[in-house]
Amino acid sequence: MEGMTENLEDLARQIRRDVIRMIYHAGSGHPGGSLGAAELFAVLYGRIMRHDPNNPTDFHRDRLVLSNGHICASLYSVLARFGYLPLGELASFRRFGTRLSGHPSRTKLPGIVENSSGPLGQGVPVAKGIAQANRLLGSEGHVYCIVGDGEIQEGIVWESLLSAAQHHVDNLVLIVSYNRLQLDEAVAKVKSLEPLADKFKSFGWHVQRIDGHRVDDIAGALQQAREVTGKPKAVIADTVMGKGVPFMEDKFTWHGGSISLQQAQEALESIGSSAKFDDFLIDGEQAV
C-alpha cells in the first residue's frame, strides 16, 4: 500500500468504521481509545514499519507491541486490512472461541501479534526486551510500542523508561496516545502526567510531541525517531478519545462500553465511507 497522505487518511477512516462495527456487533469493547489511535496504526502500517504480510515473521521486520491491549479493535482492523487476517474474521471480535479476543493473545494469533497484553504497563518492558534481543541477534528491526496515557501511571512503565535509557535502547520507539482521559475520568484529575515531555527528557529519552491525528506529522516524527541514535525515543501523540464520532469525542464514558444500533449508524455516518475499502461482512438482521 502506498503511504500517501490521502491513502493513510482513508485507511484511518476505514479503521474507525471497522472499530465501530466490531464493537457494535460484539456488544461490548473499548471504542474511545481505539478510535483515537486510528491514525497511529494507519501511519505505522501504511508508511513507517517495514513489514511483509507474506513473510510476517521475517527476522528483520519492524514490530508493533501493543501495550494498551484494550484498544486491539484498531490493531485487528489494520492487520486485516493488510492481509494478516481474513477480513471476515473481524466479525468474530470478542465472541466466544474467537482468535480476536478482547485483549490480544500471541498464542491465539501466532506470527500475527507480537505480544499478549491486557494488564496495563506490561507491554513496555516486553517491547524493550524484544528491542534488546534484536540488537544482540543482529536484527535491523525497530520496535514500536503504543501505550495509553492512563497506562503510564503503572510503575512498571517508569522502571522500563529508566532501563531503556540506561541501556541506550535506540531501536525502541514508545508512542503515547495522549487522549487525556482514562477509565474513571480525566488523567489530570486522577494522577497527572505533566510535564510529560520533560519527564521523558529528564529520563534520558528523545522526545517529540505531535498532533496524533495528522498523518504527515505522525509520519514525520516517526521517521525522525528512526534516525536518532544512542537513546530510546518517545513520540507523545495528542489524540482525542472517540475521534471521528462527535458524540463520543472527549468523553471518558466512551473508554469502554457497548454501542447501540442507532449509535452505530450515527457513528458510521459521521465517519463517512472509505474511497478504497469495503466494510467487512456482518451477518444478521441488525447489521450496520
Binding site: S28, F96, G102, D184, V190
Partner: protein
C-alpha cells in the same frame, strides 16, 4: 437494597460500603481507576474526602492502604481480582499480611464471568494466591446479600482480608436471617450421601445439582465455604465424616483454591473420595456467562455427574 431480583455481588459491596461509611468515620476507600465497575463510586460520591483515587497503580494502592491501616484507618482497597491478587501480590504479602495491617481488599470481577475481555482479565488463581499468604483472611461470598453482610463483618474483623466478589447479576440465594460468620462454613442443605462444597456463584449451581440428585434418591449436602481461610477444618471434617464423599465446586482453578483446601483437609485427617469441579489449569476463553461457564465445565449437570462419581468411588472403596 433490593435482594429479590437478580443483583451482583459488586452491587452488594458498593451498597454496604456506602452505609458503612456513614457509620464509621475511619472507613476510607481506594480505587485504581476502576471505581464504577467495582461500585466504589457510590462511596466516592458521598464521601469524597475519604475516597482516594490512585490511578492505574495497583501495587501503590495496596501499599498505601496498608500504610493507612497502620495508622488506624479501615481502608477498603478495590480493583479487579486479577490485578489485586496477582499484580499486587508482593505488597499484599509484606505490607498487608506480614505487617498485619488491618486492610480490606475487595476484588471484583472474580472468576471467569468477567465478560468478553479475554483470558487476561479472568481471575481464577486469586483465591489460591491469597490463601498461600500466611495470616491473610480470604472470603468468597456466594451472593449479593451475603457480600453485603460480609463487608460489615470485614470492617469489624481485625486483620488483612481479601474478599472476592462477582460481576454478574444473579438471583440471591441466602435469606435475610442468615448470619455471616468469618471462618465458619454455612450449611445450606443437609445430606448424607455426598457433600458438595462450593463458594461464590457456584453455590447456587450446587444447590440446583443437589435438587436433581434428590430426584434420583441421592442425598447431597450443600456447604457454602465462603471463608477459604481461616479454613473451617472442624466444620468440613464433620461434613466429610457424615457423607464419606465430596465434590468441590468453584469458579477458580482446581489447584490451590477450595478443591485444594478440601483435598488437603481430607487427605490429612479423614481420606474420602474428592471430585473437583473448576478450571483445569489452562488459559481459556471469555464470553457470555453461560457460554464461559459451560466451556470450563462449571455447570449443574457436571456437578451432578461429579457427585455420582464421588459416591461410586465411595461405594467401590467400601466394597458395596
Amino acid at each position: 437494597m433490593n435482594f429479590d431480583t437478580p443483583v451482583s455481588m459488586r452491587d452488594g459491596f458498593g451498597q454496604a460500603l456506602l452505609e458503612l461509611g456513614e457509620q464509621n468515620q475511619r472507613v476510607v476507600a481506594l480505587s485504581a481507576d476502576v471505581s464504577e465497575p467495582t461500585r466504589v463510586h457510590w462511596f466516592a460520591r458521598k464521601f469524597p474526602e475519604r475516597f482516594f483515587q490512585m490511578g492505574i497503580s495497583e501495587n501503590e494502592m495496596i501499599g498505601t492502604a496498608s500504610g493507612m491501616a497502620l495508622n488506624g484507618l479501615i481502608p477498603f482497597a478495590t480493583t479487579f481480582a486479577i490485578f489485586a491478587a496477582s499484580l499486587a501480590h508482593q505488597p499484599m504479602r509484606v505490607s498487608a499480611a506480614y505487617a498485619r495491617a488491618n486492610v480490606k481488599i475487595v476484588a471484583s470481577h472474580g472468576g471467569v464471568t468477567i465478560g468478553a475481555d479475554g483470558a487476561t482479565h479472568q481471575a481464577y488463581e486469586d483465591l489460591g494466591l491469597m490463601r498461600l499468604i500466611p495470616g491473610m483472611t480470604v472470603l468468597a461470598p456466594c451472593d449479593a446479600r451475603q457480600t453485603y453482610h460480609a463487608v460489615f463483618a470485614a470492617a469489624e474483623y481485625d486483620g488483612p482480608i481479601y474478599m472476592r466478589v462477582g460481576r454478574v447479576d444473579e438471583q440471591v440465594i441466602t435469606s435475610e436471617t442468615d448470619e455471616f460468620n468469618i471462618g465458619k462454613i454455612q450449611s445450606l442443605r443437609e445430606g448424607s450421601d455426598v457433600a458438595i462444597l462450593a463458594n461464590g456463584i457456584m453455590v447456587s449451581r450446587a444447590l440446583e445439582a443437589a435438587r436433581i440428585l434428590a430426584g434420583e434418591g441421592m442425598n447431597a449436602a450443600v456447604i457454602n465455604v465462603h471463608t477459604l481461610k481461616p479454613f473451617d477444618t472442624e466444620g468440613v471434617l464433620h461434613v466429610l465424616k457424615t457423607c464419606g464423599a465430596a465434590v468441590t465446586v468453584e469458579e477458580h482453578t482446581v489447584l490451590g483454591g477450595l478443591g485444594g483446601a478440601v483435598s488437603e483437609c481430607s487427605a490429612r485427617n479423614y481420606p474420602v473420595p474428592v471430585e473437583s469441579i473448576g478450571v483445569q489449569d489452562v488459559f481459556g476463553e471469555s464470553g457470555d456467562t453461560e457460554e464461559v461457564l459451560g466451556y470450563y465445565g462449571l455447570t449443574v449437570p457436571r456437578i451432578a455427574d461429579a457427585a455420582r462419581q464421588a459416591v461410586a468411588r465411595k461405594q467401590s472403596i467400601s466394597g458395596k
